[in-house]
Amino acid sequence: MLKMFITSIKNLFRKPVTQLYPYEKYEPFDGYRGKISWEKGKCTFCMKCGRACTSGAIKILIYSGETKEWVWNPIQCIYCGECVRSCPFGALIQEKYYASPITKGEKLDWSEIEKKAGRLEDRWRRQLRDRRGKRKSE
């Protein structure tokens, strides 16, 4: 009984443990695995990150010509950091801030992009094979 009383007196003067999160800013620890940011200048579109990605959240769209696009889906990513480690040029950086929730309108149509990426990659591979074949025949 006495012990209980002492504990409750102690707790009266202790700092509250509650984080008043939305009103109080929260700073994650260094090295938290958060959002992935991409630097266009350093990227050579080697597709290593796309292959290393576990959940298929990175798709690289190579259109005909030189237009290329790097797409990352924040709601498909599992934030394991494998793409960052696999990048040989340091074009990908994992920030320490987490991604914020999104609503319906902001969402990417991921199955459409998946299909498109598959189609474009097939075409790109075919072109590459043709070019190699041509070179050999020459």
Partner: protein
């Protein structure tokens, strides 16, 4: 009417259903209710009964056996309701995408309003998502309100809209 709206905005009750996730998001959801994050500051309570809930928090990629239960729960939640998909796998499948017993996310079964990313979603992210859901809940509540030109009929009939008087009103205009 206004008092209900105010009550809903100040104390949204949540319903949590796991549709085959890895438990990671579920324990984070429970952690949101515990002292460190203490989401009861917003008047949120975790309720087991769908009929008392306003916000439906769903984790997991929706396995084939959970699909019907999820639909039933969604239909039992009264209007206005907001669905929040918590975690990567409920948003689009995550690592479970294209597995044979999985539906690739909640949106394939019921409409989703807010997507919370993260594997597993942090408590902060969940709180952000719920705050966003509250705005949507308010908008939806407003949309459900009876238009002003119909208010007279509704009041006369004690809450219920009578078909005959509605048609009469339309004919007059």
């Amino acid at each position: 009417m206004k008092i209900f709206e105010l009550g809903k905005a100040k104390s949204p009750w949540i319903l949590h259903y796991n549709t085959g996730s890895c438990n990671g998001c579920d324990i984070e959801l429970l952690a949101v209710l515990t002292p460190r994050y203490d989401v009861e500051r917003f008047g949120m309570l975790n309720k087991g009964n769908p009929k008392q809930a306003d916000i439906l928090l769903i984790t997991g990629p929706v396995t084939k056996r959970c699909r019907e239960r999820l639909l039933n729960l969604y239909l039992q939640v009264p209007e206005p309701k907001v669905v929040v998909a918590v975690g990567t796998c409920s948003c689009g499948g995550g690592v479970f995408r294209h597995m044979y017993n999985v539906e690739n996310g909640v949106e394939r079964v019921i409409p989703v309003d807010v997507y919370v990313p993260g594997c597993a979603a942090r408590p902060q992210q969940i709180i952000d998502g719920v705050v966003k859901a509250l705005q949507i809940l308010r908008e939806k509540g407003r949309a459900l309100e009876v238009p002003p030109h119909l208010k007279k009929i509704v009041r006369g009939r004690e809450g219920g809209i009578d078909r005959e008087s509605l048609l009469e009103d339309l004919r007059r205009r």
